[in-house]
């Protein structure tokens, strides 16, 4: 075995050991004993599927941007609590691209993320994603490429209101319940705005159901 090959074996062993070493001490270090607030790119390229972060340690407050960008796991680690995220902080990016290109991720449980100013690219490129347990928004929340290439997304619950252009789920094979959640979240608007559901999703809705949104001022595409 050459020296290079020996190094490779050692590197693999260290990598495997590191992957296994996700006990309390690991998470205490990762979260700076629970005082870490900025999670920008914190889980990028990692895979913590099936792992549990001890309660109270992972509490992002300042930055969710790119937090799980290009994450390689099928599931998120449990124990993340974003409910204390400071939405009035000077951080303007919020959950932008939070899960972008996490192309193996299947489900996003309710992390407690409060209403965001923008969900730009938050889930774009999540081709395997089937379920977003809940997404919170208000009439000002911006939607730009939020669900772009979410080709498997079937379950989605919107809590709050949709009030801005750009909400596009035309590539997502949503369930009827998910579509109703979206329609019921539309705010009453006075200037024409568009909700893009796509032909396949529109075909799952009755005329009366479509009228929930059109009578509130929304054009359905």
């Amino acid at each position: 075995m050459s020296i290079a090959e020996k190094f490779e074996v050692i590197a693999d062993a260290v990598y495997e050991k590191g992957k296994e070493d996700t006990g309390v001490d690991f998470w205490k270090g990762f979260t700076n004993n629970g005082s870490r607030t900025n999670y920008y790119q914190a889980f990028m390229y990692t895979d913590f599927s099936g792992k549990t972060i001890p309660e109270g340690l992972c509490k992002p407050k300042n930055r969710l941007t790119n937090m799980f960008m290009s994450y390689k796991g099928t599931c998120l680690p449990s124990g993340i609590d974003c409910s204390n995220f400071n939405i009035s902080s000077s951080e303007t990016y919020h959950a932008t691209a939070m899960f972008q290109y996490a192309d193996r991720l299947i489900e996003i449980y309710d992390l407690g993320i409060p209403t965001q100013k923008s969900y730009a690219n938050t889930f774009s490129g999540c081709e395997s994603l089937r379920t977003i347990e809940v997404i919170r928004s208000n009439v000002d929340t911006k939607w730009n490429n939020t669900f772009l290439d979410c080709l498997s997304l079937s379950n989605l619950v919107v809590e709050g209101n949709i009030g801005q252009n750009g909400f596009d789920v035309s590539k997502c094979p949503l369930t009827h319940d998910s579509l109703m959640s979206i329609l019921n979240a539309t705010a009453v608007i006075t200037t024409a705005k568009t909700l893009t559901l796509g032909s396949a999703n529109l075909a799952k809705l009755s005329d009366a159901e479509k009228a929930i949104a059109t009578e509130r001022g929304w054009t359905l595409a």
Binding site: G166, S170, A192, L202, A213, T214, R216, G217, T219, A221
Partner: protein, 54 residues
């Protein structure tokens, strides 16, 4: 007994065409109560694909 009248204004694109208002796209469009067909026009699927690639 209740009687309900549901009114929907539907635009359907011609064969090989896509409807757009400049921001959104679709083969079929259900107009909102504040929208007008004047705000929508047809483009070819090739033009649509070109715009989506940008």
């Amino acid at each position: 007994m209740t009687e309900t009248t549901i009114q929907l204004k539907k635009l359907t694109a011609s064969e090989g065409m896509i409807l757009t208002n400049g921001e959104a796209y679709g083969k079929e469009i259900y107009l909102g109560c504040n929208d007008s067909s004047d705000n929508w026009h047809e483009i070819t699927e090739a033009e649509y694909n070109k715009r989506k690639e940008v």
